[in-house]
């Protein structure tokens, strides 16, 4: 990786820039994110981008790595103008990035994650795992990682994921490595290790762009700094020529003097007391006292734990330790609803995704949390609701004053005023304002400040969280500064300035905890109690099942089979076993096809119906005397076609997979009935064709051998080729895949078509096994059996991911279950129900710890 860099460090300041930006401009609707930014990076230096939240650092980095295209200006790499259309263009030019939140595919191992998007392959797209593993191990050694290249990413800690992400950047042999907030989730010790690695890379000749909020680490680490503010370049300088205070001055700047409508309000008795609050690894012991009438500022940079503090106060995040009392009473709300009843009100950080319901009108949003005040026996009293909303609109000066406008179309300031206004109708006592003024115009800002003062005057405790240090200094009484999950400084009223706040927030002073954070928590324990809903695909995608779930299902299956054997010993006779294998194989084929579609994040309601259609076609072809080859060929072709149609509906029309395949299912069922005219198509005297489903090679059913071959082929394709790897990646973490330049369309289409092919062939096998096609529309029966097999199979895997081997084992288990129940004398009529229960249970085991609700996000 290092051999290609010839520039030696001492000369670097005179060398030609390795990367240059000229007059870069980038706008988003309504926001100028970057304007006229020009800078040059010297070879072999560590160059920091500094700036407050919203200064444009992230946008600049995304432009440099091809995630965004700049509206204006040009980028030069080693003097050549370049155009980056996607991240792979940037990689091809030697620029690699380690993203802030380490977007990795949790269910894949480190090797596959590291090489995703840049796989080493042999002929035919077959992954060269040996070479990839060796290089991954090499890269991991370079970054000082102690874990193995075969470890699943899901099993890594946050710090280890960071190392894996850096390793992934290193194998791309970058000339320029961009690190975006690499220490945001690391403890001090881990960060120290990371700096060593970064210096080592620099000494090996890699140019490094380092983005951070934490000034101290930057000053120790980097050679030059570039400061951005409000999308503009403030300046670039050698770190030796500047000081901490100078940089702070540049970052904060001298904005036009803002008038803060702060008023002196008599401070009342203490209302909220927080003692030793711990939340995962984001809050590491927070103590607070907030009084009535006080605006208590919490200053902190992104990742300091401010939002986690707010969410754990209102019960939206589980607390790990600590006590909270509100007005002398213990407060440990189980949900925001309970917190609301105790008197908490949250104005969340991300107003579009967490605050507003943008599909609802101004009136509906304004009254949402306190709706019970405007209703009687569950019926909304529209008149009083409208009156309340009208008075809020006037009080907050929401423009336009139209109650029935959808909030989606309002400006940021008006949206934020609505989110605040929602709580004003109630009698909340503790108001948590989390970054209330980001992306808000000046007029609305003043309005928001005035509401905070008004609430304080009413005797409420106002907690004001912000990373805009000027406003927090201007509006707050006391101010606590948070850094890495702790409060490291408490300012008394009037003491703080934006400079001192930034100084403390970026990690200086004696408040920094000296003792090492040895406790490294797993990433998923910080998961919110209530993320958005759970898609079907992500049900299987989620964090790996607990050991209990994994071995529990296998143990349960063994127990069931053992019970059957005890009650009906003939169950284990060789004849019966081969019988079961024969019966189970047909179902397993359908389940295989469905699994392939599910793996890439699709869903296929039409799986069973398509198979049944090709069963009929195959039977018809045989009756017409065209022979087995024609039947097989037709089945394969129709299956492929069905997959292609499904893919087109989903990708071209943007239809949710559920609806598209539901429609396709009914079309396929109709086509089947049209074709067979509602009659069974019975075959006789077709020994060659029947051999597929009914023949034996020695004692072994031929269809079972076919199944093993098909499973082997699919397993190989999915696990050992580039195509399969990318299908998994797209299905499990689309964001991560796209950041590696892997688009969804191609791999989703591939999965629909491969799945369709398997389903089509499964239909042919069924025709042979059943001596023709039955007249019943059994498509949906096949579907549930196949779903049960696929999801049950996913619980065997250590990552809890869908996989063809698990699917086949589960399908065969379901077949032996049905066989066994009949042997015992239990009616086969119970079987669908048992399959249904198996399906529900195998999913429930995987999702119950996530505490979500079962919304379907695929339509």
């Amino acid at each position: 990786m290092t051999t290609t860099i010839e520039a030696a460090r001492p000369d670097s300041r005179f060398a030609a820039p390795v990367l240059e930006c000229r007059n870069i401009g980038k706008e988003f609707p309504g926001v100028v994110a970057l304007s006229d930014v020009s800078l040059s990076i010297r070879p072999g230096e560590i160059h920091a981008f500094l700036g407050q939240n919203g200064a444009g650092k992230s946008t600049l980095v995304k432009v440099l790595t091809g995630v965004y295209e700049a509206d204006r200006g040009e980028i030069l790499v080693e003097g050549r103008p370049v155009q980056f259309r996607d991240p792979r263009d940037a990689e091809a030019n030697g620029i690699a990035i380690v993203h802030q939140d380490q977007p990795l595919v949790a269910q894949l191992d480190v090797t596959r994650n590291v090489f995703l998007g840049r796989e080493i392959t042999r002929a035919g797209g077959v992954l060269d795992l040996t070479a990839m593993r060796a290089k991954t191990a090499d890269a991991l050694r370079k970054v000082g990682a102690t874990f193995d290249a075969d470890t699943l990413v899901a099993e890594l800690s946050v710090a280890q994921r960071e190392l894996a992400a850096i390793a992934a950047a290193l194998v791309r042999k970058p000339h320029i490595l961009i690190l975006d907030e690499p220490t945001a989730s690391l403890s001090d010790n881990e960060a120290e290790l990371l700096f060593g690695i970064v210096r080592g890379l620099r000494d090996a000749g890699v140019t490094i762009i380092y983005i951070s909020h934490y000034l101290d680490e930057v000053l120790d680490l980097v050679d030059r700094v570039t400061v951005l503010r409000d999308g503009k370049l403030v300046g670039t300088m050698d770190v030796g020529d500047t000081s901490r205070a100078g940089i702070v001055q540049m970052m904060v700047g001298r904005d036009i003097e803002q008038l803060y409508p702060k008023e002196a309000i008599p401070i009342g008795e203490p209302l909220l007391e927080v003692r030793g609050l711990v939340q995962g690894h984001m809050l590491r012991g927070v103590d607070l006292d907030v009084r009535r009438g006080e605006i208590f500022g919490i200053a902190g940079l992104m990742g300091a734990g401010r939002t986690e503090l707010a969410l754990s106060l209102i019960g939206a995040l589980p607390r790990s330790a600590g006590t909270v009392t509100l007005g002398g009473r213990q407060s440990n709300p189980a949900s925001p609803r309970a917190a609301k009843q105790q008197g908490f009100a949250l104005i969340p950080e991300d107003r579009r995704h967490e605050g507003l319901v943008t599909d609802m009108t101004v009136r509906e949003n304004l009254t949402l949390p306190e709706l019970s005040r405007f209703s009687r026996v569950g019926i909304i009293r529209f008149r009083s609701e409208r009156a309340a909303a009208t008075s809020l609109v006037e009080r907050l000066r929401i423009q336009p004053p139209n109650l029935n406008q959808l909030t989606r179309n309002l400006s940021g300031g008006n949206q934020q005023k609505i989110v605040i206004g929602r709580w004003l109708a109630g009698d909340a006592e503790v108001f948590l304002f989390d970054e209330p003024t980001t992306g808000v115009d000046v007029g609305s800002k003043v309005e928001i400040y005035k509401q905070m003062v008004e609430l304080a005057r009413r005797g409420a405790a106002v907690i004001f969280i912000s990373s805009d240090f000027e406003e927090i200094a201007g509006m707050s009484d006391r101010i606590a500064v948070m850094h890495k999950g702790r409060i490291n400084k408490l300012f008394q009223p009037g003491e703080a300035t934006s400079e001192t706040l930034l100084y403390w927030a970026s990690g200086s002073g004696e408040g920094v905890n000296p003792d090492a954070d040895t406790k490294v928590s797993l990433a998923d324990d910080a998961d919110s109690q209530m993320p958005s809903g759970t898609a079907v695909a992500s049900a299987a995608e989620a964090a790996p099942p607990s050991v209990w779930a994994r071995w529990g299902t296998i143990g349960g299956m063994v127990v069931v089979l053992a019970l059957i054997t005890i009650l009906a010993p003939q169950f284990l006779s060789l004849n019966n076993i081969f019988d079961v294998l024969k019966q189970g194989s047909v179902l397993a084929f359908i389940a295989l096809g469905l699994t392939v579609v599910l793996i890439a994040g699709g869903f296929d309601m039409s799986a069973g119906a398509v198979s049944q259609f090709t069963t009929n076609l195959a039977a018809g072809t045989m009756i017409a005397g065209m022979g087995s080859a024609a039947a097989i060929g037709l089945g394969a072709l129709v299956g492929l076609l069905a997959g292609a149609i499904n893919a087109a509906l989903v990708l071209v029309f943007g239809m949710p997979a559920f609806v598209a395949t539901l429609g396709a299912m009914f079309v396929a069922m109709g086509a089947t009935l049209l074709y067979n005219g509602g009659q069974a198509l019975t075959l006789s005297n077709q020994p060659g064709f029947f051999f597929i489903g009914q023949g034996y090679v020695g004692p072994v059913p031929f269809v079972f051998m076919l199944l093993l071959i098909a499973t082997g082929v699919l397993h190989f394709v999915l696990k050992h080729t580039r195509l399969g790897l990318r299908m998994y990646a797209v299905g499990q973490n689309l964001v991560a895949a796209e950041l590696r330049g892997i688009g969804r369309a191609r791999y989703a289409t591939a999965s629909f078509m491969i799945g369709g092919l398997v389903l089509g062939l499964a239909g042919v096998v069924l025709a042979s096994y059943a001596y023709g096609a039955s007249a019943l529309a059994t498509g949906i029966d096949f579907l549930i059996s196949a779903l049960a097999a696929a999801f049950l199979g996913s619980t065997f895997n250590r990552a809890g991911e869908l996989n063809v081997i698990g699917t086949v084992i589960a399908a065969l288990f379901l077949a032996s279950l049905s066989n066994g129940l009949i042997l015992i004398g239990i009616s086969s009529q119970a079987l669908p129900g048992i399959q249904g229960l198996v399906l529900i249970l195998s999913i429930a085991l995987g999702v119950i710890h996530k505490r979500g609700i079962g919304q379907v996000l695929i339509f």
Binding site: P336, V357, A844, G852
Partner: protein, 329 residues
């Protein structure tokens, strides 16, 4: 439609396109019905229309529950099976000589229980609704098969009139000048319409459907709200099942299953009636009526189940494609 064709005569074609976008689908439905009328004038006789209304009533009752669930981004695949089992229970109770009120109350209770179990699974355990309700559908089916000893039909119309008259009144007789079944459908529609327009539940449901995270942080009991949808769907499905058996006088195990398709088609076709392509209660009513006329027309033309399946599936896809285009423009 390509951009160039729009730019030629921008103003007039843009408004024409706008008109087509808003009302094209409704016009399309009317055209389809017009074709049936042209081919079979009997299609639009009063007697046939009443017949269609009765048929649509059952689809609509089922589809309304489904619509409520789907507006919250859930789905309930168990409704048809619930209806099936509820009808079966009603028929078995009548045959076993239980009083008529029990033949109505116990199936509804059954629907309530199914809905509660669904609610627990989806809203409290977090099982994805497609999986959970599909599983529930099969559990119910097993129960039915075992109760009827392998799908023996429960025939009411061969029983003495005295036994069945009161039960069959709902599906076959009149309430005042109107068919009782149509009156029931109107009452159910009005109740659901009022619930989904004037109650707190409706507001919460809308919030859960459009932004569950924001609803949660605003202190709404999202689990209760989401779960309630399944309870409503279960009860309405059971009601539809009883009404179906009362209309036909026979409970065929698995006989109500095709209604699942009809209910989905009605709900999705209903999205055509809204400007944003959203599901709505009135839209579902329109959709259910159209589905009723469609299958009736196909039957009159001598085209059976295969065409019904294929056309319904095709209409679902068409409705979604039009919805996608609406949102794009």
């Amino acid at each position: 439609m390509s951009n160039s064709s729009i730019s030629k005569s921008q103003a007039s074609s843009a408004s024409a396109i706008g008109f087509l976008r808003d009302y094209g689908a409704i016009l399309g439905m009317i055209v389809v019905l017009g074709i049936f009328w042209y081919l079979k004038p009997a299609f639009l006789t009063a007697g046939n229309i009443e017949n269609v209304f009765r048929q649509s009533a059952i689809v609509m009752i089922m589809a309304l529950g489904l619509t409520i669930v789907m507006k919250m981004r859930g789905v309930d695949l168990s409704i048809a099976q619930t209806a099936d089992a509820a009808g079966l229970i009603a028929a078995m109770l009548i045959i076993a000589g239980y009083p008529v009120w029990m033949a109505f109350a116990i199936p509804l209770l059954f629907g309530l229980v199914v809905g509660l179990v669904n609610a627990a699974l989806m809203a409290y355990v977090g099982v994805p609704a497609i999986i959970g309700t599909l599983g529930m559908m099969f559990v119910i089916r097993s129960g039915e098969l075992m109760a009827t000893n392998g799908a023996e039909p429960q025939i009411l119309f061969t029983l003495p009139r005295g036994v069945t008259r009161n039960f069959l009144w709902l599906g076959q007789r009149d309430f005042g000048p109107f068919a009782a079944l149509i009156v029931l459908a109107i009452v159910v529609f009005l109740i659901v319409f009022i619930i989904m327009r004037y109650t707190r539940f409706a507001r919460y449901a809308k919030a859960v459907g459009s932004n569950v995270r924001a609803a949660f942080l605003a202190g709404i009991d999202i689990r209760m709200t989401f779960g309630s949808g399944f309870v409503i769907a279960g009860v309405l499905a059971a009601l539809a099942g009883v009404a179906l058996v009362s209309r036909t006088g026979i409970a065929m195990p698995r006989g109500a299953e095709p209604f699942l398709l009809d209910a989905f088609a009605a709900a999705y076709l209903g999205t055509l009636a809204s400007r944003q392509g959203e599901m709505s209660i009135t839209g579902t009513l329109v959709g259910a009526l159209f589905i009723g006329f469609l299958s009736n027309g196909l039957t009159l033309l001598g085209l059976g189940a295969p065409y019904r399946y294929a056309l319904n599936g095709g209409f679902i896809l068409l409705a979604m494609a039009i919805g996608a285009l609406k949102r794009k423009t």
